[in-house]
């Protein structure tokens, strides 16, 4: 089989577009989609200058998604002094698994000469996920604790590193799963929040795509430039470009519902190529309409009595959980 663009030997068939692509044309296609998303979402503000660059902190786990995102953004902006990239890696205290992916992060950061920060749950909260998963005082899936801790660490360190944006490596499969889960859970307010939190473009993009998010004062704004690229293509890109991605599943992975939705989507994609793309195309428009409808509601967040984080309770979820697992937020360095 031959590449539809250059006639070279094809390495993949993108069923949703019908294209067969060779190694080089496939890699270019992935890079092009990431750059187009960066442009369409208006990630580079008009007022960024070499003297006052926009700082992007990338959540760098060492898995294929964040490694591919970091590499493509580095290659795109290496010669552009308006953008500064910082890799932020979190060690959750998962022996073996995270040790290997931290090594992948260090290797990538060294290869790219990228500023790289490493933080851990142990230093932040005095806990390790291996112990949390074993003790499980709240009777929840390990991912439910870990997700709350990770969000807190990412947000605090993004602030500390003076980030203008926090970027994560969510791919098309991740986003289509989230979209479907929000829809099936019957939660339009969550869909609206999804739009303002990460799907909508920044002000600078208004006019190009028409879908600008509302600015949020409380958190460093997030973006997901890899969200147009299917998971398989991200992995294939990492493989073909010999990137130091750590490809192993977390030993505590337990998001049963997300897994079920993921399997359903793959079956649909098999029989109806393009399903994930069309879900996201429609969902983004619905999410924008939902955001318009629900904005300005009673979302006045107070401050957590313990850590000062925004919350609508006396104590935020993170402090509650840290307490439940026998940790200590005062373990966090100033």
């Amino acid at each position: 089989m031959h590449c539809d663009k250059c006639g070279g030997p094809a390495v993949t068939h993108l069923a949703y577009s019908g294209l067969h692509l060779c190694e080089g044309c496939f890699s270019q296609s992935v890079e092009k989609r990431v750059r187009r998303r960066v442009r369409e979402d208006g990630l580079v503000p008009d007022d960024a200058t070499p003297d006052d660059p926009d700082t992007w902190v990338i959540g760098l786990s060492g898995g294929k998604d964040s490694v591919v995102l970091t590499r493509i953004l580095h290659d795109t902006f290496e010669q552009d002094p308006r953008i500064e990239l910082v890799g932020l890696t979190i060690h959750e205290g998962i022996e073996g698994y995270r040790d290997a992916s931290v090594d992948a992060c260090r290797e990538l950061a060294a290869d790219l000469d990228l500023r790289h920060e490493l933080v851990s749950y142990e230093k932040e909260f005095g806990v390790r996920m291996d112990d949390v998963a074993a003790n499980d005082p709240e009777g929840m899936a390990p991912c439910a604790y870990c997700g709350v801790f990770r969000r807190d660490v990412l947000e605090r360190y993004a602030e500390e590193l003076a980030a203008d944006k926090l970027l994560t490596g969510h791919n098309l499969d991740d986003e289509a799963q989230t979209a479907l889960m929000n829809f099936l859970e019957g939660d339009p307010e969550q869909i609206a929040k999804h739009f303002d939190a990460s799907l909508g473009g920044f002000d600078d993009a208004a006019g190009e795509t028409g879908g600008a998010r509302e600015e949020q004062d409380t958190f460093v704004p997030r973006a997901k430039p890899l969200r147009d690229v299917p998971e398989k293509e991200v992995a294939l890109y990492a493989h073909l470009n010999d990137l130091p991605a750590h490809i192993t599943e977390c030993p505590h992975a337990s998001e049963a519902y997300r897994g079920e939705i993921g399997d359903l989507l793959l079956k649909l994609e098999e029989n109806h190529p393009g399903t994930r793309h069309s879900i996201m195309a429609g969902y983004e428009r619905l999410a924008e309409a939902a955001a318009d409808a629900f904005r300005g509601g009673a979302d006045d967040l107070g401050e957590c009595d313990r850590c000062g984080a925004p919350t609508d309770n006396d104590v935020c979820r993170k402090c509650y959980l840290v307490d439940a697992v026998g940790g200590d937020i005062t373990a966090a360095p100033e």
Binding site: A15, K232, L236
Partner: protein, 69 residues
């Protein structure tokens, strides 16, 4: 119809023998292994091959994708 036998090394998991119809594609081989073509790639001589290409190797490696970044 004639069939072909293919030895598949699923990376990190083990080796399996598959018997397929002579006109089967690599995507059919993945199905035979219980994998979706959206979660795995077949490698022939170390290079990925399109899932809709007809099987033309008697030994392949299968690279599984892992959920979660």
């Amino acid at each position: 119809m004639a069939s072909v036998k293919v030895t598949c090394e699923v990376v990190g998991e083990g080796i399996e023998e598959c018997e397929l119809s002579a006109d089967a594609a690599y995507g059919d081989l993945l199905s035979e292994l219980g994998l979706s073509r959206h979660e795995a790639t077949v490698l022939v001589d170390g290079s990925p091959v399109p899932a809709d290409a007809t099987v033309a190797a008697d030994t392949v490696r299968v690279l599984r994708l892992i959920r979660g970044g």
